[in-house]
Amino acid sequence: MKKQVSRRQFLKGGLAAAAAATLPLGLVEVSWGKNNPKNFTFAYISDSHLTHIKGTEFVRNFDKGLKKAVMECNFMSPKPDFVVFGGDLAQLGKKEEIDHGLEIMSRLRHKVKWVVGEHDFYLDMGEYWQKKVSPLYYSFDHKGVHFVVLNSILTYDEWVNRWSSPMERMLNMARLDNPNGSPFMVKEEQIQWLKKDLKAISKDTPIVVMSHSPLYKIFKPWNFWTEDAEEVQSVLAPFQKVTVLHGHVHQILYNQIGNISFQAMMSTAWPWPYPVSYKQKPNQVPKLTVFMNRADPFKERDATGWSILNLEDGRVTNHYKLWENKDRILKYDKEKGHLVDMEYQDPSKRIPPQTHY
C-alpha cells in the first residue's frame, strides 16, 4: 500500500511536468491503484500504412501520423504499461516499409505488443514480420488480465495461391473495395489454439483479445468482416468480461454482442468512410456506434489518432486521442450492459458533423 501512495505522488509530479511541457496533450485521469491494484493503462497505435515511394522516400503524410502518435505516447503520464501496435504498419508489406516502421516505433520508450495486419502480411505471408517484428498469434498475462493476440487476416488457400506473383496478391488484398477480394478468417488451427490457451483461465478473469480485423461482421465488400467470427465469439462466450480491440476500419466503431465488447482503434494515417455512405450495398454497421465527425480533407490529421486504454475493473475504457477533434471516451456501462460514449450516446446530444451520408 505504501508503495502505491508513493507511486501516486510520483504520478502527480509527472502530471505537473507534463502540464509544463509544450505539448497540448489532454491528460487522462486514471483510477490506477485507487481501489483495485489490477487497474492499469496501456496505449494503442494502429494502421500507420507507411508507404514506400522510392529509395529512402516515404509518403510524408503517413509518416507524420505515426511519428506524432509515438511522440505523444512518450509524453504519457502516467506511463502506459505497454503499447500495442494494431497492424498495417506497412502499405504493401515491403521490407523497406516494415524496417521504416520499426525505426519510427523504436523511438517509443515503452514495450510494444504487435498485431499483424493484411498489409504487413500478404507479400510474403508474414515471413518478414515473424523474423523481424513478432509472432503472428500469442497470449500473455498482465496484472490479472489475460491478453490474446490473434492473426485474424488469414483467408482461403485457393485465393492465396491464385495470383501470378506475391506483389499481385498483395495489391489485390490491399485494395479495400476489391470485387476480387477474399474475406478474413482466423481459421481452425488458431481457433483450436485459442481453445487450449483459454482452458486453464478462470471464467471470471478479464479477457482482452486483440486482432486486426473486427471479430464480427459489418460490411463484407470492404472486409470489415471476419468470416469465422461466430466461432471465435463462441469460444469467448463463457467468460464474464471480454473485450475485443481491433484496427482495420480506420474509424470510431463499437458494438456489444452478448458478453463481448468490441472497440475499433483509429488509424494514424487516414480515416475510412462508414459503410452506410456506400449506397449500392447493404451493411450491418452497429446501431450502438455514435459516428466520428465527418473528416475534413483539408485538415491532414482529421479523423485520425490513437487511444489511451484504461483497464478498470476488468473492462476497457477507451480514450480516443483525436488530433483535429474533441477527444471521445468509451466506457462500459454496467447497468446497460454495453459500451457508451460518455458525451454523445444520448441521440439528443449528437452534433451535425457526426452525420454521414
Partner: protein, 132 residues
C-alpha cells in the same frame, strides 16, 4: 473527288441526323450504355491507380467505392475554399494535395472518366446541390 466525298459525308451526316433524331432502337441503348460503362471502367481504373499522383497514393485509399465524395451535393459552397465549386474542383484538389500530382483540365478524358465513375457509384441518390 475528295471535295465531293467530303460534301457527301457532310450531307449524309446532316440527313441522318435530321430523319433519325427521335428514332433509336434497343441495340442503340445497349451500345450507348456500353460506351458509358467503358468510360466508368476507365474511371474506376484511374481512381484505383497511383498514376494520377506522384507518391503512390490513389483516390480509393480514402474513398472505397468512391464513397464519401458526395457528387450529388455539387456545385456547393466548399467552406475550405470559401466559394462555390464543382465536383471536378475537388477531384483536382485531391490530385494536387494527398496525391501530390498535377491537376487535370475540365475536358480531359481522364477527368470525364473520374466523374463518370464517382457519379455511377452514387447512382440512385437524389440530387442535393449545395448540401454540406
Amino acid at each position: 473527288m475528295r471535295t465531293i466525298l467530303a460534301l457527301m459525308v457532310l450531307l449524309g451526316v446532316s440527313w441522318c441526323g435530321f430523319a433519325g433524331a427521335d428514332e433509336f432502337t434497343k441495340e442503340d441503348l445497349k451500345k450507348w450504355e456500353s460506351e458509358f460503362m467503358s468510360v466508368v471502367k476507365k474511371g474506376e481504373a484511374l481512381f484505383h491507380s497511383s498514376s494520377l499522383g506522384k507518391n503512390k497514393v490513389s483516390c480509393d485509399m480514402c474513398h472505397p467505392n468512391a464513397s464519401n465524395t458526395h457528387p450529388e451535393t455539387y456545385p456547393k459552397f466548399q467552406k475550405q475554399l470559401g466559394k462555390v465549386v464543382g465536383l471536378r474542383d475537388m477531384i483536382n484538389w485531391c490530385i494536387q494535395n494527398p496525391l501530390e500530382g498535377e491537376t487535370l483540365k475540365a475536358d480531359d478524358p481522364k477527368m470525364i472518366a473520374l466523374e463518370a465513375y464517382i457519379t455511377y457509384e452514387r447512382r440512385g441518390v437524389p440530387l442535393a446541390p449545395g448540401k454540406h
